[in-house]
């Protein structure tokens, strides 16, 4: 698609949407949001960019293949699940820092779990869409 308006708009929309997706991710534990929706919003941001500027240029922005986000996300998930083992607790026990961190809020293993979901979702959605888009 070759629309100057869309191209200009996405230049601003991409960072805003990504920021919004982070916002959704972080607030998930207290208000509507979470890793899944956050990941979907972030994917939409990239998809929008690829519509305006072509998939190749979006891949250039990403730097890495979206496929590589999947193992990173799964690893984050696994770590968040297994970390309690190091403290002698059964896996998946929720661990939380005592004091909230400014801006982010409470930090706990559930947050990392959500981050893992977030990364896997972005990886999966972009892998599927971009593979199809680039497969001529």
């Amino acid at each position: 698609m070759n629309s100057v308006i869309l191209q200009t708009a996405t230049r601003y929309l991409l960072p805003i949407l990504l920021l919004f997706s982070f916002f959704l991710l972080l607030r998930g534990h207290y208000y509507p949001g979470g890793g899944f929706v956050g990941g979907l919003v972030a994917s939409i941001a990239f998809v929008l960019h690829s519509f305006a500027n072509g998939t190749e240029s979006t891949m250039k922005i990403l730097g890495y293949k979206p496929l590589s986000l999947i193992p990173i996300g799964l690893a984050t998930l696994t770590v968040s699940v297994t970390v309690p083992l190091l403290f002698g607790l059964p896996p998946m026990t929720g661990l939380w820092l005592e004091e909230p961190i400014p801006v982010i809020g409470m930090i706990g293993s559930a947050l990392f779990f959500d981050i893992g979901v977030y990364l896997v979702v972005i990886g999966v959605v972009l892998t599927i869409l971009f593979t199809i888009a680039l497969n001529n």
Partner: protein
Amino acid sequence: MLFTVLTGLITSSLLVPFGKLIKTKWSIVLPFIPVILFLFYLWHVPVIANGTNVIQHLAWVPSLGVNFDFRLDGLSLLFALLITGIGTGIFFYARSYLKGHIYFDRFFAYLLLFMSAMLGVVLSDNILTLFVFWELTSISSFFLIGFNNDSKASRSSALMALSITGMGGFFLLAGLILVGNIAGTFIISELFAYHDQLVSHPLYPLIVGLLCIGAFTKSAQFPFHFWLPGAMKAPTPVSAYLHSATMVKAGIYLLARFTPILGDTELWKITLMVVGGFTMIFAAVHSLFRTDLKGILAYSTVSALGILTFLLGIGTTDALVAVSVFILVHALYKATLFMVTGIIDHETHTRDITKLKGLRKVMMPVFIASLLAALSSAGVPSTFGFIGKDLIYEATLNFRESWTIWLTALAVLTNIGLVTAGFRAGIKPFSGKLPETFQQASLPYQSMWIPPLILAVLGILFGLFPGVVGDYFTHQTANAIAGGETDMHLQLWHGFNTVLTLSGATLAAGVALYFANNPTEEKLLALERFNVISSQHLFRQLGKGIRRASSWYTNKIHNGYLRSYHLKIILFAELLLGYKLWLGGPIQIDYANLTPLSWYEFGIAAILMGALYIIVTTKSRLTSVVSTSVIGYCLCLMFVFYSAPDLGMTQFTIDTLTTVLFVLVLYKLPPFINFMNRGVVIRDAIVALGFGIIISMIVLRVLYEPTTTDISDFYGENAYILAKGKNVVNVILVDFRGLDTMFETVVLAVAALGVYSLLKLRLKSSEKE
């Protein structure tokens, strides 16, 4: 003990990145892993000999009762020492045997994985973890048996072994769960107390059946025996390790472990005695007809496993003592003979005993090892095999009065076969005149012939000092199997009695048979005519039948048209739901309790109907996709109206992405063609209307069912207390039901990989053209 199991698993996975390094001279570190583990367990011998058990506990999934409970008693110790001890020999041996093989690293990764899994099986004190390790042995042995993956025969044997042992695994799991549910605990050491309760339970016969199928498939008992001779396609170190001392004995271990829990009933005894007894004589006879060295050893192994099952079935103290000794006897001589066979194969490139002759002239130390092992297997006095055989006869003679003659005759006949088989495998290739063809054969590298020699010499040493072995070692094994104190003092000399006479007769008859009867190709072929009625043949037919049935089913149901899949899925759902609704009786709608419709709900309904109309009538794919997404967005609005913002958000983003996906795919499709005729349209309309009606009915019914809110109340109350979150939906996703979420993400990842590889793979093949 956990570390001994983990060492192998961790090293095995480390071989993935360091595979190249391990192919160089660094491979020398590999055999020291079993050495260390062996020393660790050797250090425990005095502790266990005092009658104490070592216990280690670590929570894994406590909420499901699955924990790493490890327990070392006499039985586990015997097996752990065999696994690590013979493992040490095999590791040294295999390092030379496979020197320079391109998959050298891969082989050791599998071998380490297997060793850990076996250790896990024998050390687990929790029947569920035992099962996990049990399956891991099946899987790792699959890779080991199919190691020569460029040969079709090798691949099919591996598949056969996996399907038989894997099938047995299902039965075993069912049996173990029944045991656990009846007793209320999955801990083996706690299960001992529930013996009476389990035995008198109405489901007891079922439990015994399930457990026995699991054990019999693993330990190659008739009629599941045939995978073991097939598995001889594996490289010889694998056969020596898996099929002499470890994997196939896992079934025996299981039966021995459950003897104090489920044993001591007629059903248990008869089942094991009949199956074990038949297997031992059947395989002993079969071994006489084999001309392939590994074939002889495979059948004599099956026969020996039959003896062990048979003895466990007899179940008297004598028999259980015999089991504990015979496991050790058999492991020592059989591993030696397998390794010797490997050396012969490695040096002469044949395993045919009709061709092999006079090899003692070129490989004397190998001959010594082989001879000692053959003597031990024959039960010549002053070998450990002699003690083992004595105990077997003692057990059969002291069983019930009326059975004595038959059981003893069976044992004697089997042992005559084993004597001959042992001589044929251990002595025949070395005797006679060395033919021209083998002149250039030479003694292999030391690390190949020293391990079998050590094992063979141990077989003699243990035979000379049986008292030491008995007091310090096998006594506790027998105690563990019997679940109580056994009176055992092994002696070399019992005086002149029936047992000695039987032993002598067995030996004489075996030697006579060795000289009288020579296996030839013709006899083997004559035997193979009966293959049509063998269980192996039946199993293959079953496999073919399943394949035929599934291809028929696939062609019928999965015809490749998405529209036909949809139709079938929806029709099936309609039938199922409709039936359930019909069972529930008539629906009463109480109009007074319904909230009145608001104007915006009307608005959304109007948009929905409009979008639907467009979908049904449009001639453009793009229009119909966009209209579908309009429906999705309308649903989003509904979610928002009824205060489910999480759902609304997710629905919105998913809908957007689905539309994008559709557009991307549509772009590549050929122009729209209308396949539908009038009949199809009417059929689809009826199905669609039916589905809509059923769903509406369900919704109406749900409104008037008394709702229980226990679960949502629980989550609502505990979300903040237990998980420190205020958004209940998200807390459920990441915490309460986190495991589900985790696996769902894995499923997503697999789906993405599927799409990626499907499209990329097709691209590559088109590039080739």
